[in-house]
């Protein structure tokens, strides 16, 4: 019985399968399935063609204004052809232009502050956004509280000048710049230093990683090519054997953080040759730093210091360069002054103080004048974040929440204020913004050479236009803004003018040296020094949003979710750390966890080199949650003149 049933079962089953299969084939489903399968696995996106053309423009990302040629296919920009302009960063421009997460319209916050999700914002029109903000501004200025409006700029450019002017006209003194080479030098010396790298014959760089994103990379790279031909000598002072240190003709492997002392030591030797700069008090400090004492503090040999000082004095046109770091610069005002004093002592013609001509002082309304009297002055951005107050904050391309050592303090203050962020990509600070204004990449902006080669992205506009538009809606300010658009100013703005003399502030120097002495002393608790390194394209964080930049990172900096720090071999042996081991770094401010140790002798003993630019909380999906941000634990003593935290050297321990 059972056997027959099984046979029947097989027959019925077989019949059903056969019938089903026939039906399936005739239904066409398998062919559709095949088509789908092929589309899925062979997915070769074909970029649309079009006629080829080349657009010419000037790159105004830096004062060098390189000529650029953009290769266009139809309406699409596909390549930046720089033909050896000297600037590496131009190559990255298309990635910002066509970034997948570029903000396409003004955004208004609807969700909680600090959320990463794009759904925390809604798109609004420019009119309604500007209207809303102008109402708040009018109210605040009307109440004579204009000084509670503040602004943070990233670069010295036209939109920053317009924002400065708007704030001044509102009666606020809180227009700040992110600490950068230019802003720090301006604060310390009263003007930025215009180095003549092309014509110098001896460069003494105090930790300025000249060829790794420092200053204006175009000028540096172009000058570098010439140095080789002309035989210009580069002497580099640094704790880490960076590429600049390796390219340099001479490297002074100095103890971390003691660059200012070396500058004083060299000044001491120059003084014995009868050269001087600064007042009596200043020279009194210099007198104390004999070569022997300098050698002891900096870890160099007396002979080395004397040789460098002599060569510096003998050179035809030497320059001493201050501003430690690459893109992210951290030098105290005392150090900048001490280094600049060397230029003054040898009468260098290659280091001239300059200022950028601004837009002039605006006329103040009665309300504005009243609020200006109430305004508290802050020396610089970190001072302002720590001690200042604001109700409305404009953040112009800057990312202080991420870049400042006081990011955590700022976070709390941003929670309660009205924050307007002007940026093409949603950065960490914009996470706390109530309004985000999409701004332009340089390819879409008009330049002094002519109109922009490319149309603005969707509803994005120039930051200058947004500010002019807003100023025109605020009663007490609109009088100071006679222009219709930023293009009216493009041709005239930005001319450098001469700056006055330097006030060598001996008091600041003394205070700095005494605090440095304390920092340098290795304590039981924090025996190691933490200093930053950078990758040129990542810089201090701006490059990480771009996938092609991620592709250029080396495997001992960041890979597979692991951030690597570099530790000297002997030090690592002593601390019991092996290659690739996971360590935590702790300073008096806190702890950053889970970085990998890379043992290398390119780093000085007792020193850890940590890459800057990682550990964003936002800044697109490409940068988010990659590594850690060392600024969280870096030193944060505020400099009296620059008002910025001096984070270069931090005492840490590892575990």
């Amino acid at each position: 019985m059972k056997k027959i049933e099984r046979k029947d079962f097989l027959k019925i089953g077989g019949g059903a399968v056969l019938g089903g299969l026939t039906g399936y084939v005739f239904s066409g489903a398998p062919f559709l399935g095949m088509q789908w399968l092929f589309e899925w696995t062979q997915d070769q996106h074909v970029p649309p063609g079009g006629s080829e053309s080349y657009l010419k423009t000037l790159c105004e990302a830096c004062p060098d204004k390189c000529e650029m040629s953009i290769r266009m296919i139809g309406e699409r920009a596909v390549k930046i052809e720089t033909s050896h302009s000297g600037c590496p960063f131009g190559q990255n421009a298309l990635q910002l232009l066509y970034h997948a997460e570029r903000i396409d319209a003004p955004l208004k916050r609807t969700g909680k502050k600090g959320t990463v999700k794009a759904s925390a914002f809604e798109r609004v029109s420019w009119e309604s956004a500007l209207k809303d903000i102008s109402v708040r501004m009018n109210k605040l200025i009307g109440e004579k509280k204009g000084h509670l409006i503040a602004g943070i700029n990233k670069d010295y450019n036209l939109s920053a000048a317009l924002l400065d002017r708007m704030l001044k006209a509102a009666g606020s003194s809180s227009a700040f710049y992110e600490p950068s080479l230019k802003s720090l030098t301006q604060a310390a010396l009263g003007g930025y230093v215009d180095y003549d790298f092309a014509n110098t014959d001896y460069i003494l760089s105090f930790g300025a990683r000249l060829l790794e994103g420092w200053g204006s990379p175009c000028a540096m790279n172009r000058a570098f090519v010439d140095w080789k031909k002309k035989g210009t000598k580069l002497v580099h002072v640094d704790t880490i054997r960076t590429r600049t240190a390796s390219i340099a003709d001479q490297w002074l492997p100095i103890k971390p953080g003691t660059e200012a002392v070396l500058a004083l030591g060299i000044a001491n030797i120059l003084k014995r040759m009868g050269r001087a700069a600064g007042g009596y008090d200043w020279m009194a400090v210099v007198n104390a730093y004999t070569p022997e004492k300098t050698a002891e503090i900096t870890g160099l040999q007396v002979k080395q210091i004397e040789e460098v000082a002599n060569a510096f004095a003998r050179a035809r046109n030497p320059i001493a360069v201050a501003g430690r770091g690459g893109k992210g610069v951290s030098s105290s005002s005392a150090e900048i002054m001490a280094v600049y004093a060397l230029n003054a002592m040898v009468g260098s013609r290659g280091a001239v103080l300059k200022r950028t001509a601004g837009l002039g002082e605006p006329a103040l309304s009665a309300n504005a004048a009243a609020s200006l009297r109430e305004a508290k002055r802050h020396a610089g951005l970190d001072d302002f974040i720590k001690n200042g107050n604001f109700e409305i904050l404009f953040v112009n391309e800057a990312d202080p929440l991420y870049k400042s050592a006081y990011g955590a303090e700022l976070e709390g203050k941003l929670e309660t204020a009205l924050v307007v962020a002007v940026t093409p990509l949603l950065n960490d600070t914009a996470l706390y913004a109530d309004y985000v204004f999409p701004s332009l990449s340089f390819l879409e902006a008009d330049t002094s050479a002519g109109s922009a080669p490319l149309k603005p992205y969707r509803k994005a506009i120039h930051a200058g236009d947004a500010i002019i538009g807003l100023a025109k809606m605020v009663d007490d300010i609109k009088g100071s803004f006679p222009w219709n658009a930023y293009v009216d100013l493009v041709k005239t703005y930005g001319a450098p003018i001469g700056a006055g003399g330097v006030n060598y502030n001996a008091q600041v120097l003394k205070e700095f040296l005494s605090s440095l002495e304390k920092t340098l002393k290795a304590s039981e608790e924090f025996p190691l020094s933490l200093v930053p390194v950078e990758l040129t394209f990542v810089g201090d964080g701006d490059g990480l949003a771009f996938p092609f930049v991620l592709k250029s990172i080396d495997e001992k900096t960041y890979s597979q979710g692991k951030l690597w720090v570099q530790i000297n071999r002997d030090t690592a042996d002593r601390e019991g750390v092996s290659e690739g081991e996971r360590i935590d770094i702790e300073s008096s401010r806190g702890e950053i966890g889970s970085v990998r140790a890379h043992l290398t002798d390119t780093v000085a003993p007792d020193t850890i080199a940590v890459p800057l630019g990682f550990g964003h909380k936002a800044y697109t999906r490409y940068a988010r949650d990659k590594g850690v941000n060392p600024k969280e634990i870096m030193a944060n003593d505020i400099d009296p003149l620059t008002g910025a935290a001096n984070w270069w050297l931090t005492r840490v321990k590892i575990s």
């Binding site: 059972k2 049933e5 099984r6 029947d8 079962f9 019925i12 089953g13 399968l37 092929f38 899925w40 696995t41 062979q42 290659e579």
Partner: protein, 427 residues
């Protein structure tokens, strides 16, 4: 419709009854194997549809676990051609009881080599390109070892299919059909032709997949050997390790069924063959290692020992030689060979030689740095790789079990075995 459901229910009851017939340990083994099989399908779909990114292979480590699986399976499946060759050409009739099992294992090994290759290549849909656009050189010899491997594997696989046909035809349902029985019988008579052809093909692809493929990479110090030395070394290994594996499979089947599946003299005979081949392999491999150390690696201005660093270094070669020594002693000395325990150890170390050498070739070869400033690379297969690998092996084992149960895979059992053990497993 109700009737159909009834049938299905009946069939399920039948399967249940069959399954309950097994001992507890076998049941657990089947559960585990079914678990891996399920994982095989789930992760297989993931890999095929979403790409190889889910493996731990990388641009610096392009070959991983599945390639080791391919090498191992083909090497072990090499026992099929050796046994066939000895039986049909050399007329070593003692091997007759083992031949069906051997052919089946060969078939499964080659089948799953293809399966793993399908997973391993990035574009399985384009796999036919190997036949359509083969990289033949100007002469008869193919330019790419992989072209040769694919073609030889295919032809040998077809031969194995033919060789397997008589075994399948002996299933009791098919055996009842006169035409098929007739075909099966005559195929069996013609088998020596296929055995000869198979041996010819096998020689090539054993050598090329296991050895030639690696020793032609003249840019890589970890693999390169001049004059195709490794090609021949690996053929010898296939004959030695393959036969050991065939013996092991039959031995395990016998243990599980608690029956004597093949007569003792068969084991004896094949173990002797395996042992002798291991002696040859020992000499060949020793020569290979010495030549690597003294001639080939120094051509790159590197030292062989420095290549044997990292996670998969020198210890693997030492281990391999320990296993070789074990196989030789335990399989060739009569006393050890005839004692079941040491015999078992002997064939296991024979199989282990195969495993360690294949592991060493792929793991160490890929992990050796190409630049003096780079480190050795480690490789941690992901869960996807493990499941596909183990799932594949599980499916092989399940198929083998099916054949053991429903076809006269071991004719010896049919003829002599009924009095031994309990006829528990047979229906």
């Amino acid at each position: 419709m109700g009737k159909l459901i009834g049938y299905i229910k009946q069939y399920i009851a039948f399967v249940k009854k069959e399954f309950n017939g097994y001992s507890k340990n076998v049941k657990i083994a089947i559960y585990v194997m079914l678990f891996f099989t399920a994982g095989f399908f789930v992760f297989g779909i993931q890999i095929l549809f979403w790409g190889l990114g889910y493996t731990d292979m990388s641009n610096f480590y392009p070959f991983g676990q599945w390639i080791i699986g391919d090498l191992g399976l083909v090497g072990l499946g090499g026992g099929a051609f050796t046994t066939g060759f000895l039986l049909y050409i050399f007329r070593n009739d003692k091997l007759e009881p083992l031949i069906s099992s051997t052919v089946l294992i060969g078939f499964l090994c080659y089948l799953f080599t293809f399966v793993f290759l399908v997973f391993d290549i990035g574009q399985p849909i384009r796999a036919f390109f190997i036949y359509m656009y083969p990289n033949w050189g100007p002469g008869l010899m193919p330019a790419s070892m992989l072209t040769e491997v694919a073609w030889c594997l295919t032809f040998y696989f077809l031969i194995l299919c033919v060789e397997l046909t008589p075994v399948v035809l002996k299933h009791k349902v098919l055996d009842a059909i006169p035409v098929l029985k007739y075909i099966g019988h005559y195929l069996h008579r013609l088998m020596w032709i296929f055995a000869a052809g198979g041996t010819f093909l096998s020689f090539f692809h054993q050598g090329s997949l296991g050895g030639g493929m690696w020793d032609v990479m003249y840019g890589k110090a970890s693999w390169f050997r001049a004059h195709h030395i490794y090609f021949f070394v690996v053929i010898i290994l296939a004959t030695a390790g393959g036969t050991a594996f065939m013996t092991l499979c039959a031995y395990v089947a016998g243990k599980v069924m608690k029956k004597e599946v093949v007569p003792k003299e068969t084991f004896n005979s094949i173990a002797k063959v395996s042992g002798v081949m291991f002696v040859v392999y020992f000499a060949a491999r020793l020569a290979d290692v010495i030549l690597m150390g003294t001639s080939w690696v120094p051509l790159f201005d590197r030292s062989y020992l420095s290549n044997l660093g990292g996670y998969y270094g020198l210890w693997m070669i030492v281990l391999e030689f320990i296993f070789i020594a074990g196989a030789i002693v335990l399989l060739l000395v009569k006393k050890f060979r005839e004692d079941e325990k040491t015999f078992r150890l002997g064939i296991i170390s024979g199989v282990m030689v195969m495993l360690t050498t294949k592991l060493h070739v792929v793991l160490n070869g890929s992990s050796v740095p190409n630049f003096p400033w780079k480190d050795f690379i480690g490789y941690n297969p992901t869960i996807q790789e493990w499941f596909i690998m183990l799932g594949g092996l599980s499916i092989m084992a399940l198929i083998y079990m099916w054949f053991v149960k429903y076809t006269p895979l071991f004719p010896h059992v049919e003829q002599h075995g009924h009095h031994e053990g309990e006829a528990k497993a047979a229906e």
